[in-house]
């Protein structure tokens, strides 16, 4: 029974990867313009060079043929070479995955800790406390990350000189971008968590616990949080997957290398192998995160075990 569940899960995971690749391939071919023109750009090349580019990348083949050959290569572990970056896709992604992963984990971690603390401290408190918390959070959510980045840099880098303005060489350079990314994440998480907490704090078993003389802090930490965490965990998992390839704005503001930057350029330049490579990466991260999440759900909320 267990083995069968694992097999089904593996099968659907592969299905998701294939679906993502196919969708991305189709979508990229729907974008206007010929690939060879995107590679050449607004520059003057002779017909010879143009033909060389078409031959090098097999751009004169039919789209199904290109699709089939791409999938064939992927299955054998070959992601191809970038049309524009003059390097293999694995090398292009490999060079950028580190900084992206660092920033993603730092931001999500920061957001999870801050949001949990905030929610625990403010759930079912006085109007003033809650109002203050929501107000701050709403201000946080309505600031685009590029603005948060610019403001943080202005104060903490340009004025106070605590952190460098750019780069990804040391941990100090990670602080400001992580904070900028974490602000909206914290807001979303805190809202969902507080909502969950307030629900749980109304439940009979919490009253029972209180009646047995359990302290407020213990009630919140030992009982409420565990039950309120479910939607927040869903959100967290979603954030992880979303961020790896989605940090382009932060990467631009803080001059960090990253997968987002790579993809922005690749979409504009119809650099198909790179786009597909990034899709494969994020889809894989996504599939793995979700398997982990499902296990976490079961651990956190025993009620799900009956149906899962």
């Amino acid at each position: 029974m267990r083995a069968r569940r694992v097999a089904v899960r593996a099968g659907t995971s592969v299905l998701v990867l294939w679906g993502a690749l196919t969708l991305a391939f189709a979508a990229l071919h729907l974008t206007p313009g010929a690939t060879v023109d995107a590679i050449i750009g607004s520059t003057t090349v002779g017909p010879q060079v143009r033909q060389q580019i078409i031959d090098d990348y097999g751009l004169d083949r039919s789209i199904p043929a290109q699709y089939a050959s791409y999938l064939g290569h992927v299955v054998t572990g070959d992601l191809g070479r970038s049309y524009q970056l003059h390097e293999p896709v694995t090398a292009a992604i490999g060079a950028r995955i580190g900084p992206s992963l660092q920033l993603t984990l730092a931001a999500v971690g920061l957001a999870a800790v801050t949001a949990t603390t905030l929610a625990l401290l403010t759930a079912r408190r006085s109007r003033v406390v809650r109002g203050l918390a929501s107000g701050t959070e709403l201000a946080g959510v309505s600031i685009p990350v590029f603005w948060a980045g610019i403001l943080l840099l202005t104060v903490f880098s340009f004025q106070l000189g605590w952190f460098p303005a750019a780069g990804d060489d040391d941990l100090r350079a990670l602080v400001l971008p992580a904070v900028a990314v974490a602000i909206p994440l914290t807001t979303m998480l805190a809202q969902v968590l507080r909502e969950g907490l307030e629900r749980v704090l109304d439940e009979p078993f919490v009253l029972t616990a209180r009646a047995r003389g359990m302290g407020d802090a213990a009630v919140r930490l030992r009982h409420a949080l565990r039950h309120a965490a479910l939607p927040a965990i869903t959100l967290l998992g979603w954030m992880l997957g979303m961020l790896i390839g989605g940090l382009v704005v932060t990467e631009t503001v803080f001059s960090r290398q990253g997968v987002g930057q790579l993809m922005l350029g690749a979409v504009a330049g119809k650099d198909l192998p790179v786009v597909m490579g990034v899709v494969l990466l994020t889809a894989t991260v996504y599939v793995v995160v979700n398997i982990v999440l499902d296990l976490v759900y079961l651990a956190v909320d025993p009620r799900l075990r009956t149906t899962a």
């Binding site: 974008t31 060079v49 003059h86 303005a165 750019a166 780069g167 350029g265």
Partner: protein, 538 residues
């Protein structure tokens, strides 16, 4: 083979050179040997190999590493560099260069005639996929090694811009050993004989260089001779304007490219920082009106659009006086530039529109003819916009409305734009075209340079005039600077008379520089060079 120079002698020499040198920044005190200079740039190359890449920024990243055969000064005069001297044959088709025999690439390879041949052959080889350099020597026939340090380059027809092309970083001489590594390796690593040696280029972050201690072959007339003063040089990519500026004012970088015009006054007021600028050569930022299709085939409409809007006033206000309003299709920094008079005259423009039949106005105030509104379409790619050109376009759109034009800005993605322009389906297109050579006019107005589905070109106004083509060809066929200037003067006057384009502003490279920095110089293409630069770290 490192020669040791006593530090005192070195410092004395440096002082002497600084006294007579042509550095751009003032107030940096006496030159300092050693140290690291960090240059914050707003853009980075996709490909480091200038033989292949068309980007301005590639030239600026490659320049510290690569020397050229000849050097161009601010007045457009050509000076010896890796070539000691040259002769041009009577039919102007053959160039014979005598080369320096004391130059070594930083990988140990000797510089010689074979190296020059390898470089030119590399540029024209289809496998290089050259997107710019090859087009600048289109009539190239071949290179012949005459002796170990003598080389002969031949063309199918006279090609006067050859020396100017050679002086650019796009023709920077690379080590033949390194060229053999192939296009993918060159995209990330180039090896030359320049004052700096590339350590690493990391896309998204920038590039680091260290000093080439053996460097003894700076171009004739350069302010600084001998090895670079800086021990290390770093280009850091800081795309966001406010971040680049903040990094400069907080002292995290020494020099930045592209200070936003709105901030120039504020930066000038900061007593730790100065601003220095230089006009870029080539075609100024212009609106090219489609001469081939649509309403702008009528010279009256083109003239009305150009003279009925006060472009000079808009430019002065929007760019805070940092960029000069253009007074010719060419920038004043281009050899062969001629100022052409034209003036803002909305009454005359209105009369021309009346004459052309657009006498009535519709409910929204746009002019109409036979019930058809005077609509012009302008494809625009916002994602790659520079210098607030989108803000400028909105301003022009608003001013054109007063004149009666309905300017429609078509918001396109880059691939859409690249498809639309060769098809000719637009009325206005905008472009600035940097090239330190009068033949920029040939790119911008020559019939052969009209973009088509097979071949991109810069003549996006799709202007075609046989007399003009004749002058442009004649200017390519002579190396007589006076004769060329006269021909290019005629071209500029004629395209102005025909209102083929609307010159808008002269792009200037605007650098923000910490006052501790000295000895910066300019390349003819208007980017800074660092051979003689120093920085006095606090």
């Amino acid at each position: 083979m490192r020669t040791t120079v006593p530090p005192i002698a070195l410092a004395a020499a440096a002082l002497l050179l600084a006294a007579c040198g042509g550095g751009t920044s003032a107030g940096a005190g006496s030159p300092v040997d050693g140290g690291t200079l960090v240059y914050g740039v707003n853009n980075e190359p996709i490909n480091l190999d200038p033989h292949a890449s068309p980007q301005d920024v590639t030239a600026s990243f490659a320049r510290p590493v690569l020397d050229s055969l000849v050097a161009l000064d601010a007045e457009g005069r050509v000076h010896p560099w890796l070539a000691k001297s040259w002769k041009i044959s009577a039919d102007q088709k053959t160039y014979t260069f005598r080369l320096r025999d004391d130059v070594t690439f930083s990988d140990g390879t000797k510089f010689d005639a074979e190296a020059v041949k390898a470089n030119l052959e590399h540029i024209v080889a289809p496998a290089t996929k050259s997107q710019l350099a090859a087009s600048w020597i289109a009539p190239y026939a071949g290179t012949e090694v005459v002796g170990p340090h003598e080389v002969r380059v031949t063309f199918d027809r006279p090609h006067a811009p050859f020396l100017a092309a050679l002086s650019t970083a796009y023709f920077g001489v690379q080590s033949p050993t390194s060229l053999r590594a192939g296009p993918e390796a060159l995209a990330r690593r180039i090896v030359g004989s320049g004052p700096f040696v590339l350590d690493a280029f990391t896309p998204g972050k920038g590039v680091t260089y260290h000093r080439n201690p053996d460097y003894r072959w700076a171009p004739e007339g350069a302010a600084h001779q001998g090895p670079a003063r800086l021990a290390k040089l770093e280009f850091k990519v800081l795309r966001e304007d406010s971040v680049r500026l903040g990094a400069l004012t907080s002292g995290q970088v020494d020099v930045i490219a592209s200070v936003p015009p709105a901030n120039v006054a504020r930066v000038r007021a900061d007593d730790r920082v100065t601003v220095t600028s230089r006009q870029a050569p080539g075609g100024v930022y212009s609106y090219y009106l489609n001469n081939q299709k649509g309403p702008f085939t009528d010279v009256r409409l083109r003239t009305a659009f150009r003279d009925g809007i006060d472009f000079a006033a808009i430019v002065k206000k929007l760019y805070f006086g940092v960029y000069a309003p253009a007074d010719s299709p060419l920038s004043p920094a281009t050899p062969g530039y001629t100022k052409v008079d034209r003036k803002y005259d909305p009454q005359a423009a209105a009369r021309l529109l009346d004459e052309a039949g657009y006498t009535a106005r519709d409910g929204e105030g746009y002019r109409v003819k036979d019930g058809k509104r005077l609509t012009v379409r302008w494809p625009f790619v916002r994602a790659v916009v520079r210098e607030q050109r989108d803000t400028l376009a909105q301003q022009v759109q608003s001013e054109a409305k007063k004149l009666g034009f309905d300017v429609q800005i078509l918001d396109l993605t880059q691939p859409e734009y690249l498809e639309r322009v060769p098809s000719g389906d637009y009325d206005i297109a905008d472009l600035s075209w940097q090239r330190a050579e009068g033949d920029a006019l040939g790119n911008l107005f020559g019939t052969a340079s009209i973009p088509t589905a097979q071949r991109w070109g810069q003549n996006i106004g799709r202007h075609s005039d046989r007399e003009l083509d004749g002058w442009l060809d004649a200017a390519l066929a002579t190396t007589d600077a006076g004769r060329r200037a006269a021909l290019y003067g005629q071209v500029q006057r004629k395209v102005t008379a025909q209102a083929a384009s609307v010159p808008v502003y002269v792009y200037s490279a605007v650098l923000g520089v910490r006052k501790r920095v000295g000895g910066l110089a300019w390349e003819a293409q208007a980017f800074p060079t660092f051979h003689g630069a120093w920085t006095a770290k606090p």
